[in-house]
Amino acid sequence: MEASMIWSIARKEFLLNLMTFKFAVGTILCVVLVLVFVPVLAKDYQQRLEEYSQNITANEAELRKVIVYKNILPTVYRPPNVLSVFSEGIEKRLGTSAKISHFDVPEVSATTDEVNPYMSMFPALDISLVLRIVFSALALLVAYNVISGEREQGTLKLILSGSIPRHHVLVGKFLAGLMILIVPVTIVFILALMLLLSFPMIELNAANWAGIGLMYIASLIFISAMYNLGLFFSSLMKQSAISLILGLFAWVIFVVVVPSGSIYLATQISPLESQEKMESQREMTIQECRSKELEASGKFPHWRGPKSDADGAFGTGYTVVCDESCLHDASKAYSLMQSIVSNYSNSIWRLELSYFDSLLKQKHLAGNIARISPVSVYENVMSILAQSDFGSFRSFIYNVKAYRDEITEYIRSKTDNFSSYSYFTICTEEDAKEYQKNIGPFLESFKSENEQDRERAADNFDKWRNGIMARHSPLSLQDFPRFSYRPGIAKSIKRAIPDLALLVIVNILLFSLSFVAFVRYDVRSD
């Protein structure tokens, strides 16, 4: 009996609102916006996906050309994120590639400066923009007159003169609001998904579906929080016009003032460590490493002998042939230098991490200030669930670091701790023994006046050298580790839980406040 009363209030409210002007206009606006935004965003994603697969293919092609282990210098690429259509976060501000170098510092260089800096004047565009701005306004517009409007019309008096308790009325109103707002949110999500899937290149995997499902739930919780805010103002004020004004002011503060103001304030309260300082430290570490390397290689005077005289993979070269002393020295020098580099690359890694942490500190401060606005909390949840927040980027960087270590280990195992000749050259002991015999006449020929003699000597040497090159085919890198970055949704959910919980708490808090206000509400009309 009681439940059915709540239900009939909810149904009445629902049907009443469904026919209203505000609901129609709001829903139509959302549909139009989704129709405009999604194809543009999907096309952009498709383009990034194409670039990504081209890069991957080019990288694979280079890997197939590798002749000596030293030349393995792959670049890894961050796959574009399809969920960025829903929430862009900082996805497009970050570099998409990282070059991996196992014998040099810095080992990983991830770029952020590929994009045109002047484009930063435009804010990010995604579906969550529509949701957080248009829907929050719509929720307030639906809610502002549920109590105060009924009082003005005198119908509230009629309802409460029955035997129905006040909290049932409020619960009914809340359920009605939720029901009415679910409609446009669902329309937007379904429409967006349909448009997205109509693009041939776009596929969604299970994790994507899970993310979208969670984003849908998060959107509902958010909309319900905004509705509760309106409900609170409505049960606080006697006139609906005043509830509307209060709601709108709260809205403009939440939507406009807090998101920008919090960051502006945070950048002032906790200024960043200067990037130049970090870079000069980094530069110093690199210099130090270089000089240590130089010192180490100085112990092996002949190692400078082998020139990289043939083109290898990834735009680097390798040594075809050299003499014995050079071969021995180089193998020892490379092995020694590798240990130096791995020490320094770790300290650079720590330097970079500490810089990231200082960025994160500022971001957290801004995020904490922004938590007074449910709109900002929701924005944050969306970007976490869409895996376009900084946390996801950081996990990419960690993956790259792990991959780099994996490559180093791979090469180490293949080259006997970087000391085997196959690390830097295709020259064998036997070839090195014959080196003097072959290069001697060639060097002698420079003294000769006769051009024909010189040419013949050069030809002979080249023939011998080409013979060595012909004996070698590219390394078979069947067991070479491949980079795969599949961000797990589980971690994202874990990160999103605090903010989601906060949204739920806001809901409960606002609903209890409206409950308290409504219980004491004076239903008499003027």
Binding site: Y118, I133, I263
Partner: protein
């Protein structure tokens, strides 16, 4: 006393309506809320601005003084001056108090010697983990919050009175409709002016008392122009509010329409800028730039004989017959010119891409207003290109200076070109090695644009704002004349 008597008396009827509107507004909750909100925003933003400006000025002077100190330290001979790489930065602007123009993530630094100038770079602590945001400054508060308040004040101006039945009573008298409309408009505008002006005064007082810097006459004038622009901008929102209020059946519906209009005009259309630039213009990339630079260089070297025989050869002795220094100078100058051209072209493409999006967003009066105030205050993307231009002009001046000094030295070959070998490795004496007096060397100082020039940049936007005003005025006028007051 009838209305007719008042009409013929000293106080025009319109003034009564205006007064009534203002008093009604002043006592309302919405006015109190906006007043508190806006004044506190102005005050908070000014406090933050003062701190930020102090920090920025300190950084700027540190870096600029370091550049000058390095210049004087390395300045032994004319030769060194020619190859010295200067590093210059954007000067922090006081008018960033009014509008900042997204400059925090724009390139603010450039390095150059007299031959080449690099691409402007971002040398600031930009936190890329934060989303794009706008500084909270005057234009932010006015374009986002006050425009909203304008709608809140006007949404029930006509249909609210109709609902209350007072509109019918008012129009039953002799007063012409247009006067009622103008009265409503003036009332709303004057009400809006109160938080605006109080906020501006609070903000200026905070800035002036913090003693960060004096405000020059030119800056006062520019501030005045920004205030006038703000009034124009707010006025169009008032007209729009009155217009929608004339068309709506009830004030609640009117607010719905206005709110959604506000969302579209102020937030959604400006967000479409990035998409528009990606759609309508090409994206210049670093890779492409590097490829072009590389190809040009190779092409030049392949055809080096075009500049004279043996232009490609270089030997330690300047009189070596295998070498042709004048031809080499021509080759190198052609090379630097070509490279500079490519870099400039790349920069132009970058700004063009951003401007395409900007032009598209000017469907929204908010973007127009922001662009106009940026032009007047001398900040934003226009300032960045102007800074680059000034750096180039300075580079030319310095080159002229070196050329004229070089001409005085009979020992020099007067071949000013950019090659490492002519610097130190080989003593070719292509540029004079006489000492120079540091005080005579021209130094870079960024100049602000004059008011006339700034206005010229903003003129189209001002015209657009006036046009928006006229259109919405005409619309509300026609709607109100045909309004059914029943």
């Amino acid at each position: 006393m009838t209305y007719g008597q008042i009409e013929s008396g000293d106080i025009p009827m319109i003034w009564h309506i205006v007064r009534k509107e203002i008093f009604e507004n002043l006592l309302s909750l919405r006015f109190m809320l906006s007043l508190i909100l806006i004044i506190s925003l102005f005050a908070a933003s000014s406090f933050i601005f003062v701190g930020k400006y102090k920090q920025q000025s300190q950084d700027y002077w540190e870096k600029t003084n370091k550049n000058v100190a390095d210049l004087s330290k390395n300045l032994g001979r004319l030769n060194d001056l020619a190859f010295f790489e200067q590093q210059i930065f954007h000067k922090p602007k006081l008018l960033a108090l009014c509008v900042e123009g997204y400059e925090k993530s724009f390139p603010n630094y450039v390095k150059f010697n007299i031959f080449t100038i690099g691409l402007p770079e971002v040398k600031a602590s930009v936190n890329f983990t934060l989303p794009y945001f706008s500084d909270v400054n005057w234009v932010f508060i006015i374009s986002l919050v006050l425009s909203f308040v304008a709608f809140v004040l006007t949404f029930d101006s006509i249909c609210g009175e109709k609902e209350a039945g007072t509109l019918r009573m008012m129009l039953a008298n002799k007063i012409p409709r247009y006067k009622v409309l103008l009265g409503k408009y003036c009332g709303a505008m004057l009400t809006l002016c109160i938080p605006l002006l109080v906020g501006l005064i609070v903000s200026l007082i905070i800035v002036i008392t913090s003693n960060i810097t004096g405000i020059s006459g030119l800056e006062w004038l520019k501030i005045l122009v920004v205030v006038i622009l703000s009034l124009l901008y707010l006025s169009l929102f008032v007209f729009l509010g009155v217009f929608v209020s004339c068309r709506a059946t009830c004030s609640a519906n009117c607010m719905v329409v206005l709110l959604l209009m506000w969302v579209s005009l102020v937030i959604l259309i400006p967000s479409l800028g990035r998409t528009a630039s990606n759609m309508f213009s090409e994206t210049p990339t670093r890779v492409e730039l590097n490829r072009k630079l590389y190809e040009t260089e190779r092409q030049m070297w392949d055809n080096s004989d075009k500049f004279g025989k043996n232009a490609g050869n270089s030997y330690a002795d300047a009189n070596d017959p295998r070498m042709n220094l004048p031809a080499r100078a021509r080759l190198y100058n052609a090379l630097t010119n070509a490279k500079n051209g490519i870099i400039e072209d790349h920069h132009n493409k970058m700004t063009a891409q951003a401007l395409t999006g900007r032009n598209f967003t000017c469907l929204s009066p908010t973007a127009v207003y922001q662009r106009a105030s940026e032009a007047v205050a001398g900040v934003g993307i226009g300032r960045c290109t102007d800074f680059y231009r000034q750096a180039k002009r300075y580079q030319m001046n310095l080159k002229e200076f070196i050329r004229s000094r070089d001409a005085e030295d009979p020992d020099s070959r007067h071949l000013i070109f950019d090659e490492d070998n002519s610097r130190g490795a080989f003593d070719w004496r292509t540029i004079s090695k006489r000492p120079v007096d540091f005080s005579t060397v021209p130094k870079f100082d960024e100049q602000d644009l004059g008011l006339g020039h700034s206005l010229k940049l903003a003129i189209w936007d001002i015209v657009l704002l006036i046009l928006f005003n006229l259109v919405f005025f005409a619309a509300s006028f026609v709607s109100f004349l045909r309004y059914d007051v029943r």
